[in-house]
Amino acid sequence: MKTAVIVFPASNCDRDAQDALAQVTGKAPVMVWHKDGIIPEDTDLVVIPGGFSYGDYLRCGAMAANSPVVEQLKAHAERGGYVLGICNGFQILCETRLLPGVLMRNASLHFVCRPQRLSVESANTAFTSAYCSSSTVTIPIAHHDGNYFADEATLDRLEGEGRVVFRYAAGENPNGASRDIAGILSENGRIMGMMPHPERAMGGNEGGADGLGVFQSLLNAA
């Protein structure tokens, strides 16, 4: 599997994503600088890492969505390539409209970093085939703006089409997200955005090892 990681100014989980991809694929991903970097055409998976792109002083991800590299990201998506947006990456995917909905400020108005129990809503996706459906996994979160919101029709459609991939465990919604949504898929099932950080849960640290499945699933799919 050939992978790439987009690096925006003040992306800060780019190295973590790089390490996770190298751990699973055995090959270093191409690191693509937002200004002049190139996403190679034969890339199977593009990861948009967490962080505070352009400082996120504006709405999270809004600046990044207008960055030069986004044209290439869209071209990659149109080719049917896989895209994984984590945390700030999820926000950017919503801002680019590659995924529906928005991520608003957490209901608590506070940044929140904690181990988060998630329910795997569907194991029948390219991002979750390594998990069992309806299983509960723990993956850390760390965000200020993870309160997923979309209109009712969009939410119904996402659920109806099996595009809600991860939900916060019942009663443990950390940010007020609609219908406890933690991660969603694009219509073609090739793009996933999620607030939790699977790259921080690859084993050997406080984050645990439950995030490994996301990358293993992608390795199997690509």
Partner: protein
């Protein structure tokens, strides 16, 4: 172009003693200044003297006492005097770390004050070539009932999170305490730890004449002018008006600055580098000049201030030199590297300009609008700064507190719950959940487990750094010498409790007005106590910061010398935390039965004692500290311990409770006067006493023999089988009198709620 002649006339006008006083230069210092300079200074020069001779920059009240600290051991590469301390962690790598206060600005503007504190300490570390890998903060607020406390907590925590989370450095440990003594002056001490290759460490020293001076980072604005002077004065009512002296942080630019500097540092372009912290362009240029030269003999600097990137129009030389705008660096480059360096900073859209040159004149020369506005010798600014031997009084000795004078409470379960829910002991989840603790992927253990020290892996290795921060200001108030010793010993213990070898400390000495002999007495004795502990434990000071004048309307803060400790774990698999205990494990104590209630959490919260009545703090026997710590490290190294915790605030009972909460299990503890041979009237001291050099640990039930062998080999270490770990549903049971079969029990849920509910409840209350 405005008429520059009027501005220049203003800047170069000769100043008199009265203006000196307005700049915080006292009469004797004015004499000194004029004598050394051989004339009266102009306005720009006076501004420069005032910041360089401020307490904040010159350490004029503490320097002679700081020299008592040991600063070397086999692993120290760089001690105090540079931006941060550097220690050898093997394999050609170094850990670089420092702690620094941002107390005064955080009280005036908590969000930005705390945020820029984090930014400043990060720059101290990456200036030296290190990638920052961990942040720690030690916070002290006023009484929870004080009307300002809640908003200060909210602002400071949001500010630390806002900055640290964005730059992508995990905040892994810290402490948060409350005391009425901080009502008028909170303490915000931030520590950063970085990782560098030993052959790529950069210093402020060593610049030679004839090289370009390169300014990088943010543009210079009018923020923070005279911040260092503000931080060197007492507060009085209405000082919120000083808000313009507080800087505004931009973590986005800091993140870019980190990446750009580390990219430049990977090349051979830099001769010397210094961040612009307190006193901005002034202190950075003066410090580089003063420590310049091949042999540190000092060099000169000439800078054209018109070339300094500026955020606002019409700034004067005075403002440019005194601005404390954040996220700026000054670099002495090799001349043929300018274009390459510019290209790197251009990639990150950061300002980067050559603004001057190093010279052999030994003078700081500044020009603006083509005219010289400052020409002063560098040496008097740095080396001739005042160095006071402030008069001091021996702090009063207290009478020891006799536990037998206080009845053992009848409701011991309630007492334990009360202690676990006091503001100091309560869980700080509300705080650390707002900090990203996991970015960079190397956090093995953080505040999340309530552990003694955070464990941060050295990237792509099986080694880790252990990091902690400690101070018990109640002990220091009670006896500054013993309290100072204790702060160092506690850090040593906390690092040992995770299995790490303690290497060195950074310190942050927070005190009141040093011009008052009573306050100065606490400064002197605390430093001497710390120095003794550092010496005996081979745990030297490699960097630090002094924050004085923490006083409002004449009332000083409790003396608070905070210690940031760093230790090395050679093998992560041989480490311990609070969270590994399992039902069936044996519970063991190292150190004797508790006897000491003076100055403890119990004396304050349960007995309700204050001030003198609290008595003396627990004494610290450094030889015993060393012995017990090495035993604990050996137990962990042998893979015997499933969980380890030191016994500190709240004594044995609270220590067991914390392990039970972290491991989510119960425990049975036998602590009976009859069995262990102590007077029944001392049961409260046995449960809640804070005698030093003590630990608890758990071992698997089937490892009893291995443990016995260990104990046999070390008969000098007092070890006591206390009981066992049980299922969470069984809660904690303390058997306190075997013959009468007397026990008290606390359910784990009740314990958790006592520990977890206080802070969120407090923060979510609306006045």
């Amino acid at each position: 172009m405005p008429d520059t002649s009027a501005i220049l006339a203003h800047l170069t006008a000769t100043q008199e003693e009265a203006q000196g006083l307005e700049h915080g230069i006292k009469a004797d210092e004015w004499e000194r200044l004029v004598t050394r300079l051989g004339r009266k200074p102009n306005l720009v020069e006076l501004g420069i003297y005032s910041v360089m001779w401020s307490e904040h920059c010159s350490y004029k009240s503490s320097r002679r006492h700081l020299s008592k600290f040991p600063t070397k051991n086999a692993r120290v590469i760089q001690g105090p005097g540079e931006n941060a301390g550097v220690i050898d962690i093997g394999d050609g790598q170094a850990a670089i770390f420092k702690m620094e206060s941002h107390n005064h600005p955080s009280y005036i503007e908590p969000y930005q004050g705390a945020a820029t504190g984090v930014g400043g300490i990060l720059r101290d570390v990456f200036t030296m070539g290190a990638r920052p890998i961990a942040l720690v903060n030690a916070l002290r607020f006023g009484d929870p009932s004080h009307p300002k406390t809640r908003s200060l907590v909210a602002g400071v925590v949001a500010g630390i999170g806002g900055y640290g989370n964005c730059v992508g450095v995990p905040t892994v440990a810290g402490e948060t305490q409350f005391d009425a003594g901080y009502n008028g002056n909170i303490l915000v001490n931030a520590m950063a730890v970085g990782l560098a290759d030993q052959d790529k460490i950069f210093y402020a020293r060593g610049a030679t004449p004839g090289n370009p001076i390169f300014y990088v980072g943010s543009k210079t604005g009018r923020d923070g002018i005279h911040g260092a002077t503000m931080a060197s004065a007492e507060f009085s009512e209405g000082d919120e008006e000083k808000r313009p002296t507080v800087q505004v942080g931009d973590p986005f630019t800091e993140k870019l600055l980190i990446e750009a500097c580390l990219e430049l540092m990977a090349t051979d372009a830099i001769q010397a580098i210094q961040d612009m912290g307190a006193a901005g362009l002034t202190s950075s240029s003066v410090e580089m000049a003063a420590s310049g030269g091949a042999n540190g003999e000092g060099i000169g600097v000439i800078m054209d201030l018109d070339k300094v990137p500026q955020r606002e129009e019409g700034m004067t030389a005075y403002e440019i030199m005194l601005s404390e705008s954040q996220e700026r660096m000054l670099i002495v480059l090799y001349p043929d590297k300018i274009d390459m360096a510019k290209a790197i900073f251009d990639k990150y859209d950061l300002s980067a300009e050559v603004i001057g040159e190093t010279t052999d004149t030994g003078h700081l020369v500044l020009t603006q609008f083509g005219e010289v506005v400052c020409d002063i010798p560098v040496a008097p600014l740095a080396e001739d700064a005042p160095n006071y031997d402030r008069p001091w009084n021996e702090p009063p000795k207290r009478v020891a507190l006799d536990p037998a004078a206080f009845d053992v409470p009848t409701d011991l379960a309630g007492t334990l719950l009360k202690l676990m829910g006091t503001p100091d002991m309560a869980s700080k989840r509300w705080v650390w959940e707002q900090y990203d603790r996991h970015v960079m992927g190397d956090t093995i253990d953080s505040s999340q487990s309530g552990g003694d020290a955070a464990i941060v892996r050295i990237h792509k290795t099986n080694k880790a750094l252990a990091i902690c921060s400690d101070c018990n200001p109640h002990y220091v108030s009670a006896d500054p010498y013993e309290g100072g010793k204790q702060a160092v010993a506690e850090a040593y213990r906390n690092l040992s409790a995770v299995g790490a070898t303690p290497i060195a400390i950074t310190d942050n000495l927070n005190f009141g007005n040093p011009e008052k002999p009573n306050t100065m007495g606490y400064i002197v004795k605390a430093i001497e106590g710390m120095a003794e502990a550092c010496r005996e434990l081979d745990f030297p000071v490699v960097s630090g910061n002094v924050s004085l004048y923490n006083e409002t309307d004449g009332t000083a803060i409790p003396p608070t010398p905070v210690v940031g400790g760093v230790g090395l774990l050679e093998d992560i698999s041989k480490s311990a935390t609070l969270k590994g205990a399992k039902p069936g494990d044996l519970l063991v104590m190292v150190g004797g039965i508790g006897t000491h209630l003076g100055a403890t959490q119990y004396a304050r919260s349960v007995l309700g004692l204050k001030g003198e009545a609290l008595g003396t703090p627990p004494p610290v026997d450094l030889a015993v500290e060393k012995r017990n710590a090495s035993f604990i490290r050996d137990i962990i190294g042998a893979g015997l311990a499933t969980a380890v915790h030191d016994i500190s605030d709240g004594g044995l009972a609270c220590s067991v409770a914390e392990v039970a909460l972290a491991s989510n299990c119960g425990a049975v503890v036998n602590i009976s006067p009859e069995l262990q041979g102590f007077p029944a009237s001392h049961l409260h001291a046995a449960l809640f006493g804070e005698d030093q050099a003590r630990y608890i640990f758990t071992v698997a039930g089937d490892a009893e023999n291995a443990l016995a062998q260990f104990a046999e080999a070390r008969p000098d270490v007092p070890m006591l089988m206390l009981g066992s770990i049980t299922d969470a549903s069984e809660g904690l049971t303390f058997a306190v009198d075997v013959r009468k079969d007397q026990t008290f029990s606390v359910g784990l849920d009740a314990l958790r709620s006592a520990n977890e509910d206080w802070l969120p409840g407090y923060m979510n209350t609306v006045d």
